[in-house]
Symmetry: C2
Subunit: 340 residues, 2 copies
DNA sequence: TTGTAAGCGTTATCAG
DNA sequence: CTGATAACGCTTACAA
């Protein structure tokens, strides 16, 4: 407790405001939450009293009493991954506009981590939950069901959501890019993704890649498929392994993180022309991909929109404006640039 | 409320657990928080009852009653800025290990935004506050003082903190880089930063630049100082303006965001050799700077450490292990690479 | 070791 | 429009 010297740390209650304004606490409560329910005179006296005593409402008490909550819990796989930033920002913007607070936690890409966070958020009695992953432990599902809390999953479109989904189809996006590369004339398209274990998005993308090959009556060659950890360095390693391997690809589709950029930087270092030696495509429209030389072909995903729309449908449910279990597919876009 | 079909959404209370275990609610409370205070037999019965009814403690009620809180509020200027990610992650890791929750908000680089968030967090009765900015509205300071909440500021080392500071000196870091460039032989070092209005970090860096020049008995030329918005595009624009201007610099120090990378990409596009045509230095050790061609000289800042250490000193105070108003300078490091 | 009583600071409800 | 009263679900303090 800093300084008891100047003004001691005292938190004033509604009661104090009431006394000072010469009304009952109940009237203060009303004046604060819906000024139209009290007389003009009282409203002003209360406002002044609030300022005078420096009153800050106690939402813990308010929430407990009203059995409502003004906080939403958001679980992301990893805070370090810059891909989640736009989504978080979208969520944050919408929540703030409605007077909600955002509680955030990272599950570390594990279902157990997610379960722990869900438990913690439920204990805080959050009004709603946003989950990036779409696979959960049985206990997590059970707890959510019992609590009756609305939930939005945002990682990828799935057929059997817990409740609501707002996302895009990782499967369709990956498939579309492979078809796009084929249309451009590439016949040996390699595929590099993040590890698919414990990651629905990666798995969906792999399935999309295979689906496209099947449609094109092309064989899925194991040596053209790689799983790499996230990071620029991994992308660099991947491009070297593929290009220097037997029967190298003419194009590489990097379905994750900044792998494609790492690969391009490696090509620059080695003097490999892109797309002359090998074409490169990426999965996310991060700013960097537009500025490197050459700019990299990629998918534009509705990251911010997922956050915004996700928060909106969640609030619609929380505030009783809707009872529907919506599934929103926000789509994607292919950005053709000079790397392919 | 999803599905009332299978099992209706009922939240069980401690009372229910107590009944089922054949003990009083108080005993359940004890069994849950400090199992050593109840008998072995009771502990087991309670545990089973908890599982049986799917009990999830209500921390709103708990916090209200105990007049303690297990949530910490964090205010960042912008969630989109990837620079804050490591700090947030550090905070998150430390808090989780202590059973604390993280409430997060973005103030949009404005003091008013920060004030609004502080008010909201105080209303949630957070146990502590972490602020990135080091300048605040008078009301914000007043509210924090009255609430008696411990606070950590993390943006830059300042002489008159609200309470505690954990950071590095932006002034010293900028100064050190300019001296470093001078030592390498560069005599006309330009300086590009983010707008300094409303940004203590930028201002500190500008002061550091000037301080270095003064020490070197060099004149601060206005045409060698630029303020640019964040982003790769701004860096590209800056390098062009400086290099094509009158009396161009031999080195450019980009003190913010990804400006330096944007500048390098522009040089690549134009075929300007770096550092042949102009040398480039950056301010933050983001992964990209190490992988581009050539790799860019920069400063390594203790981003994650600030989050971790900041959360630690905050928890020390919250949990009464310390009463000190610490100031922690985590320092910085110059990473010399091929761009200078 | 366990239980009882009295709040914590609000809001819902109902009466005036 | 305003106020009294009883929760909300838990913990503190004290008693048994």
């Amino acid at each position: 407790m800093p300084d008891d010297a100047g003004g001691r740390a005292s938190t004033s209650r509604m009661r104090d405001v009431a006394q000072r304004a010469g009304v009952s606490p109940m009237t203060v409560s009303r004046a604060l939450r819906d000024p139209s329910k009290v007389s003009e005179a009282v409203r002003r006296r209360v406002e002044e009293a609030v300022r005078a005593v420096g009153y800050v409402p106690n939402r813990l008490a308010g929430n407990l009493s009203s059995m409502r909550s003004n906080v939403v819990g958001l679980v992301v796989p990893g805070l370090d991954n810059s891909l989640y930033a736009p989504t978080i920002q979208g969520v944050s913007a919408v929540l703030r506009a409605s007077g909600f607070q955002l509680m955030i936690g990272e599950c570390g890409y594990s279902q157990e981590g997610e379960e722990a966070l869900i438990t913690a958020f439920l204990a805080q009695r959050v009004a709603g939950l946003m989950l990036h992953d779409t696979r959960h432990t049985a206990l997590a599902c059970e707890m959510i069901r019992r609590a009756g809390v609305p939930v939005v999953e945002t990682g990828t479109i799935i057929p059997d959501p817990l409740d609501m989904v707002v996302s895009y189809s990782n499967h369709d996006a990956a498939r579309a890019m492979v078809l796009h590369l084929h249309r451009l004339g590439y016949r040996r398209v390699a595929f590099v993704s993040l590890p698919a274990a414990n990651n629905d998005r990666s798995r969906d993308r792999q399935r999309g890649y295979r689906a496209a090959l099947a449609e094109l009556r092309l064989e899925a060659e194991p040596r053209l498929m790689l799983e790499m950890p996230p990071g620029l360095a991994a992308g660099a390693e991947a491009v070297v392994r593929l290009v220097q391997g037997d029967a190298p690809p003419d194009a590489i589709f990097f379905a994750g993180d900044v792998l494609a950029a790492g690969a391009l930087f490696e090509c620059q270092r080695r003097g490999w022309p892109v797309p002359g030696k090998v074409a490169l495509a990426a999965f996310d429209d991060i700013d960097m991909l537009r500025h490197v030389v050459p700019p990299i072909t990629t998918l534009r995903l509705p990251r911010t929109g997922i956050g915004r729309r996700g928060a909106e449908v969640l609030l619609d449910r929380i505030e009783g404006r809707s009872r529907e279990r919506v599934v929103v597919d926000l789509g994607f876009e292919i950005i053709q640039r000079d790397s392919t």
